[in-house]
């Protein structure tokens, strides 16, 4: 009943299209929505197809012959895949926590109107938004100067801060934290570090969630840093692993072969095609299940960022 009432109030009452147009729009959006979720269906379907059926008749939207052999393989022999899953989870967790701390602390400092270096630090954050050194010099600084080549930190540090996120935080702190709150804490002799960690952060959960989500998805979906800096297969994330499997599907067998089974036998018998798509499923499913619940925070962050840029 509540939704019924909602329809007849406010904007909706005045802004109604005819029923024919409405049905036509619905059809368009149903089609678009299906096109948008097709990747998940395809990847799921291939990962549940039997290897033999893929070899014979190729990929299908619905499996010709269902099979869970890809997942059985991952559970039993997929040490390489599970390792990559571990790297992805670790990088995402550490990166998100670190990034949230670095971003919110800067955002808070920039939101303090009486801070003496505010103007200077605002430029520090703003300039990289319009000018950057480009890939070549970043690459050399990260490898030759900071020694990030083949280090897990290469996957974490370069993505930790973005000026866009800092500005979202600054806007949030400026508009939601009452000045009186901070002033009274200052009167009580609390240091700024104490104020930030024990007063500001606990009441800023919406912005922490927004920035945390941005970072979480950015780390989970990143493959470019791996491509640039990681040659050691033990440090491959899921994305990097899928990337290497796309060019050479037999790579999965290499690692398993070192555990006693002969390489040739493995290449011939293991469910390569479906296991590759099962890796894609390990990447996609957590995202597909998580984002509908967090969409709200995402949108609020995106709109603050888009408007206040």
């Amino acid at each position: 009943m509540a939704t019924q009432i909602e329809y007849t109030t406010g904007l909706d009452k005045f802004n109604r299209t005819s029923n024919v147009v409405n049905v036509f729009f619905h059809l368009i959006f149903i089609l678009l929505a299906l096109i948008c979720i097709i990747p998940v269906i395809v990847v799921l379907s291939i990962s549940f197809s039997s290897e033999a059926s893929i070899r014979e008749s190729g990929y299908h939207l619905i499996p010709v012959a269902w099979s869970g052999e890809a997942y059985a393989y991952i559970a039993n022999q997929g040490s390489m895949i599970l390792r990559a899953l571990g790297v992805s989870v670790l990088v995402t967790a550490v990166g998100t926590v670190l990034g949230v701390l670095l971003t919110t602390s800067m955002g808070y400092v920039l939101s303090r109107p009486s801070y003496k270096l505010r103007g200077f630090l605002t430029w520090v954050v703003f300039i990289p938004m319009i000018f950057n050194g480009g890939l070549v010099s970043s690459y050399f600084i990260n490898t030759n100067l900071l020694g990030l080549k083949d280090s897990v930190w290469a996957l974490i540090l370069p993505l930790a801060v973005s000026s866009f996120n800092v500005i979202i935080c600054k806007t949030f702190f400026k508009s939601t934290i009452p000045d009186g709150l901070i002033e009274s804490a200052e009167m009580d002799g609390a240091s700024q570090l104490r104020i930030f960690f024990f007063i500001i952060l606990p009441i800023s959960l919406p912005v922490l969630a927004t920035i945390g989500l941005f970072l979480c998805f950015a780390y989970w979906n990143d493959w470019f840093q791996s491509m640039l800096y990681i040659d050691n297969q033990n440090l491959y994330s899921l994305q990097a692993l899928l990337n290497s499997l796309m060019s050479n599907v037999d790579a999965l067998a290499k690692n398993a072969a070192s555990m006693g089974v002969s390489y040739a036998v493995l290449v011939a018998t293991m469910p390569k095609e479906s296991a590759r798509m099962a890796v894609a499923i390990l990447i996609v499913l957590p995202v597909a299940f998580a984002y509908p619940f967090f969409q709200k925070y995402f949108i609020s962050g995106l709109t603050i960022g888009a408007v206040k840029g």
Binding site: F14, P128, F217, N243, L302
Partner: protein
């Protein structure tokens, strides 16, 4: 001295004097500032390697200082190469199409989805259409392969079952401008739609009430209320997009095409070229291209913002 002037003086002194709070806030900002120096400002300084005959091995600073200056040699190589024209054409051409479609389609669909009678259905569609935004190009490349693979792909199976001949998609450049544009629109549509829709739903409904009183049709409401109210957001996103006209989505052009050599003419953009040269350790041309990209990118964003400020000061960013 009057007490008002004294007060003013005192306040001024308070503003100028460095407080304990300033020290604490500086401490709080220090880690992030160091991050900015290492990952943003040092690379800006490193941009001078475009004018040097840079060696790859050894320490970074000693290399930057000791490698000989060669002036614009790297740039000469870059612009004299046969590929320079193709790469610039691809980068700017695709971006112009992406910018136009990236505004027109999300605005169109945001307005349409806002007109649906059922709020619940609209939410479901939005959520589903947001999914591609959360998928990485590596995953999308894998999905593309499932469709376009020569012997196993879904599209070729359909072609064959309809009596046609299978097509070796990754060898046929003719189709790829269409594929790349389609994928770009597909990935960004839900995201763009959500941003515009957030603006539409935040509009004051009294505008529409007044319009309906005056007998305005849905089309007139859209044309004279919704679109003008969206102008600010459209202009903002337009400036940001124009400022990135020399940058492309590396994943789209490199991962989705599977770096196929046959597609070089339709898929190589500045970013792809820089990456490939970097990986093959020929730094000269890559650093020149990266330099051009950074400097022109900065110039375009400033110019775009300047033009917008001339036309409509309220919409400008800076």
């Amino acid at each position: 001295m009057s007490s008002a002037a004294e007060q003013k003086n005192k306040r001024k002194r308070l503003q100028i004097r460095w407080h304990k709070q300033d020290t604490e806030l500086t401490l709080l900002a220090l880690p992030t500032t160091i991050w900015y120096i290492l990952f943003c400002f040092l690379p800006m300084f490193g941009i001078i390697i475009a004018f040097k005959n840079f060696r790859i091995s050894g320490g970074f600073f000693s290399n930057v200082f000791n490698s000989p200056w060669i002036g614009f040699k790297n740039f000469e190589f870059l612009f004299k190469s046969n590929d320079a024209w193709i790469i610039i054409r691809n980068t700017i051409g695709y971006n112009i199409i992406f910018i136009v479609l990236g505004i027109v389609l999300p605005v169109l669909f945001a307005i349409m989805i806002g007109l649906l009678h059922s709020r619940k259905a609209s939410k479901v569609y939005q959520t589903m259409m947001f999914l591609p935004y959360f998928l990485s190009w590596v995953v999308i490349s894998a999905v593309g392969w499932a469709f376009l693979s020569f012997d196993k792909g879904i599209v070729n199976q359909m072609l064959v079952s309809m009596g046609g001949d299978p097509i070796n998609w990754y060898m046929e450049p003719a189709y790829w401008p269409f594929f790349l544009i389609l994928l770009n629109v597909w990935k960004g549509l839900g995201y763009g739609m959500v941003i515009y829709l957030a603006t539409i739903t935040s509009l004051d409904s009294t505008y529409y009430e007044a319009a309906v009183m005056d007998g305005a049709s849905i089309w007139q409401q859209t044309r004279y209320i919704t679109l003008p109210m969206l102008k600010l957001v459209i202009v903002m996103l337009f400036i940001l997009a124009v400022g990135r006209i020399f940058y492309t989505d590396f994943g789209l052009f490199y991962q989705v095409t599977r770096d196929s050599n046959s597609l070089f003419n339709v898929s190589t953009t500045i970013d792809v070229m820089v990456f490939k040269q970097l990986k093959s350790a020929t730094v000269g041309m890559a650093s020149a291209a990266a330099f051009v990209q950074s400097v022109l990118g900065c110039a375009t964003i400033l110019i775009a913002n300047w033009i917008v400020r001339k036309i409509d000061p309220e919409s400008a960013m800076m």
